[in-house]
Amino acid sequence: MSHGMLVPLEYHTPGLDDFKFPGTFGVSWMDKSFWQIIIATVLVIGLWLWLSHAMKVVPGKRQVFAEYCYDFVRNTLVRDIIGPGFRKWLPYLLAVFSFVLVNNWFGEFFIFMFPTFSHVGYVYGLALVSWVVYIVAGIRAKGPLKFFKNSILPPDVPWPLWILIIPLEFLSNFITRPVTLALRLFVNMFAGHLIIMIFLVGGGYLLTYSGSPLYNVTGGISILFSFALFGLELFVGFLQAYVFTVLSAQYVATSISSEH
């Protein structure tokens, strides 16, 4: 058997420590995720600039692809949700979608192999921007007083229920929304990465375990299965980018719509 030729992998349980990386240039926060998010920013801007340069009325191959991507965000995620006047919010939502998507796919991308948004700080930042955006949108559409009044008190609520409705609506609109927006994205990325690590680290350990061939087979299956999980994570990365953008657009839509 080949056991003797392989040095068995040492096992350590994947955990929080696997999400921590040393800083570079002596700055602790300039770690792996920092460089990833910088690269992602450059990549997103560069890709879009390349996709959108020298656009023609009659498109070529590159432009057809560019239009397909752009129209997906523009029509499906923004126009269909916000409706008329969507153009104003399109740049932010396009930026959010591409930024989140690229950073999520870094988790499956061979150089990085780490989803940037499994670091919660960046996600808080993004959710905060979305939160500010929809509050600003509401204030600009209705004025501050009317917007806040509409946000904490839906129309046609009988007055005895106000004591119940007002705190609930306040919580839901100004606290829960940004928190859930952030946590949903972060936890999906965090858990996805953790699961892949468990399958790979555990699988590798079992595959090289010298003692029982059954363990080796199990480890092999586990590693094979991790490829399927990679596929799943690619989908989850896309889905979370989609959901984050849709919800951001949805919040803008509700705050600028007249009846809410």
Partner: protein
């Protein structure tokens, strides 16, 4: 690094940012991308879409215009054709009436000419007959006198008698006008 927060709340575990500056980074970077999108990327796409819809709309408008023009031209030709038909019918009608008029005029003219010729011929014949009658009257008088003188053998010196005889003779002649007219017609 996040000690004050952990004092206030329960231990957040991975929900506590490892480096709080990541929050700032996330905000700044997404705003940078938003700026790039609003400055370059979205306007490029939207302008191109606008141009495209303009081009398509322009093409449709041009086609519609051409169709309208063709329709107008067809209508015009049809009107012209109908006008030409009417005109032709009118001309034919006119020609018919004009032809009839001309024929009528010609007939009238011919009739008048014929009448005129007939009248002149009648007058000429009458004049010739009168002339012939006059001549005959003179000659017949002389001839009859000399013939009678020769037959009778006597000198008809007595003018009164001669004249009476001649007159009687002429009167006899005059009682036969039909015969003399017939002689004139034949002449």
């Amino acid at each position: 690094m996040a000690a004050p927060l952990t004092v206030l709340l329960v231990n957040l575990g991975p929900l506590l940012p490892e480096h709080p500056i990541e929050i700032i980074l996330g905000i700044v970077l997404v705003l940078v991308i938003t700026w790039a999108c609003s400055k370059f990327i979205v306007p490029r796409f939207e302008n191109m879409y606008h141009e495209r819809s303009e081009a398509i709309q322009g093409g449709i408008e041009r086609a519609e215009k051409a169709q309208a023009e063709a329709k107008a031209a067809l209508q015009q030709y049809r009107e012209q054709l109908a006008g030409a038909r009417d005109e032709a019918a009118q001309i034919r009608e006119d020609a018919k009436t004009q032809g009839a008029q001309i024929v009528e005029e010609m007939r009238a003219t011919a009739q008048a000419e014929a009448d005129r010729i007939t009248a002149r011929a009648t007058a000429q014949i009458r004049a010739q007959r009168d002339l012939a009658v006059g001549e005959l009257r003179g000659e017949i008088g002389g001839l009859a006198t000399s013939l009678a003188g020769r037959i009778v053998g006597e000198s008809l010196a007595d003018d009164a008698r001669v004249e009476a005889t001649v007159d009687r003779f002429l009167a006899e002649l005059a009682t036969q006008p039909a015969r003399s007219t017939r002689v004139g017609d034949k002449a």
